[in-house]
């Protein structure tokens, strides 16, 4: 297998292995800005047929969702190349810090636990506002992210505060209130499981979301309350 895509991967620098893809920093031409290449490599555990169809549809779906977001003015990385059969997606390189690492409790491998009194980042409230606004912009364009976590958001390290949403691997198009509410619920759960005492943080996310959503907020909010009651074996008392 010698394709342009595999050559690109071969010359690229592996940065990390995410949930389902290997992430590389690559250069299409020398002396140009780098791009980020996401390679959904073949999963040995999955049946080949299932794996091929999932990979193809996810790469294509991710590219499609990014395009829609770009058109709607949501801060997402721009698309540089797509090779769906090879499972390769090249996107704009974003310089910044993952939001998870900026918040208490989210630091690498949770080693910091004992020095809980050292959160160096102070603009938490402003950051939460940015998160709420970006998600609302995305939902107004009827795009559901599908995997909202603090790992999937980057705060750009330029002068102006700019939050970029990444990893649209599980995203899809939907105008349903249900899907938007579930999207928010996924984020709420991610906050709760990653960052201890996150309730005030998440409520400021919702506040910013509410402002941006305008008249659409009431229905989403109502549905979010319903969604929270789901899940198994929850205590129904009180």
């Amino acid at each position: 297998m010698f394709s342009a895509s595999s050559n690109l991967i071969a010359s690229a620098e592996l940065i990390s292995q995410g949930a389902e893809a290997k992430v590389y920093k690559a250069q299409i031409h020398s002396n140009t800005v780098p791009i980020l290449v996401k390679h959904r490599f073949r999963k040995g555990y999955r049946h080949p047929t299932l794996d091929a169809s999932l990979t193809r549809s996810r790469v294509a779906g991710e590219a499609r969702a990014l395009l829609k977001c770009l058109r709607a003015g949501v801060n997402v990385p721009g698309i540089r190349m797509v090779d769906a059969t090879e499972g390769i997606l090249g996107i704009e390189w974003i310089e910044g810090t993952c939001v998870r690492k900026l918040l208490p409790g989210g630091a690498e491998a949770e080693t910091e636990l004992s020095d809980a009194d050292t959160p160096p980042f102070t603009g938490v409230d402003a950051l939460m506002g940015l998160i709420g606004t970006e998600i609302a912009k995305m939902h107004l364009a009827d795009i559901i992210h599908g995997d909202l976590t603090t790992s999937n958001m980057i705060l750009e390290s330029s002068q102006s505060l700019r939050l970029v949403l990444i990893d649209f691997g599980l995203s899809y198009h939907s105008g349903l209130v249900e899907d938007k509410a579930v999207d928010l619920y996924v984020l709420e759960r991610a906050f709760a499981s990653t960052h201890p005492d996150s309730e005030p943080m998440f409520s400021s996310v919702l506040k910013a979301y509410e402002v941006r959503m305008g008249k659409h907020w009431t229905s989403v909010s109502k549905r979010l309350d319903d969604v929270r009651l789901r899940g198994r074996k929850r205590s129904m008392v009180g």
Partner: protein
Amino acid sequence: MPARTSRPTPLQRPDRPYLALGLEGSANKLGAGIIKHAKDGSSTVLSNIRHTYITPPGEGFQPRDTALHHRKWIMDVIKDALQKAGVSIHDLDCICYTKGPGMGAPLQSVALVARTLSQLYGKPLVGVNHCVGHIEMGREITGAQNPVVLYVSGGNTQIIAYSRQCYRIFGETLDIAVGNCLDRFARVINLSNDPSPGYNIEQEAKKGKRLVPLPYTTKGMDVSLSGILTSTEAYTQDKRFRLDGAESDSEDVVTPADLCFSLQETIFSMLVEITERAMAHIGSKEVLIVGGVGCNERLQEMMGIMAKERGGQVFATDERFCIDNGIMIAQAGLLAFRMGHCTDLADSTCTQRFRTDQVHVAWRA
């Protein structure tokens, strides 16, 4: 993983050997087991007895009948456990029972016995969360330090990780549990419930070759399984379906084996995927599989491949400790007991709903 093992564990070495009896009966398995925590900090399984309520093919177990089964067998199972362990009931330090989650009637029958024994012999009671029992036993047997836990059984499907004295649920099923999905499909194609429907699906799936398209429904770190069950059932109404499994060269056929194979491949892929997502999210390299479905070798194999691709490791146990048992209740109960936790008689109730993250894990740092 440089986890919080750096923190001192709050659990002190025992000043003398401790013995606990664990009683489990939250579903169709009735179990009693005796565990010993020695002075050097090691634990020994002295006995682990189980009696399973098996229904005819095509039928599931009803709460009422299951409770009757437990009531009929529990004295034998406990006596057997004491005898195998070679200890007297007077030697025990505490009696642990499953407080929940599970089926109401079977839980109550077992809790009643636990309470009676506790009163008769003046032994303290410890109510245990079933899911925490699974996790603690898995950790004890495999030696996994701080793994991401995939808990898959007939009533539960959860991805769990430990943080700050709590087993937090990162992902779970939005509707039915994976074991429930497999068991119900076994009923549709009339597979035997002996030794368990899941085991027979696994054997059947080994003969399957063809992967039929089924929905693939992961939602973030959650999964939804009810639609997959419906779709698989729908294939049994398809005109290509042959219940006798007869293959044909001229015709395009779907056999029960193909459906078992497709069902397993699809749902296990989903489970491995969400586990991988959780591992990536919290930066862990260890996975522990617990619960009845955890003894499925195909699931273990798939998880092993995934862990290897990530440079990690998978821990699993065999049917003695995967499938519901009394010893895991004894293990989790004794850990709590050594931290000074007891359940008063007035509080020794059971509950069908008892989430894993409601338990204060006092014995871990």
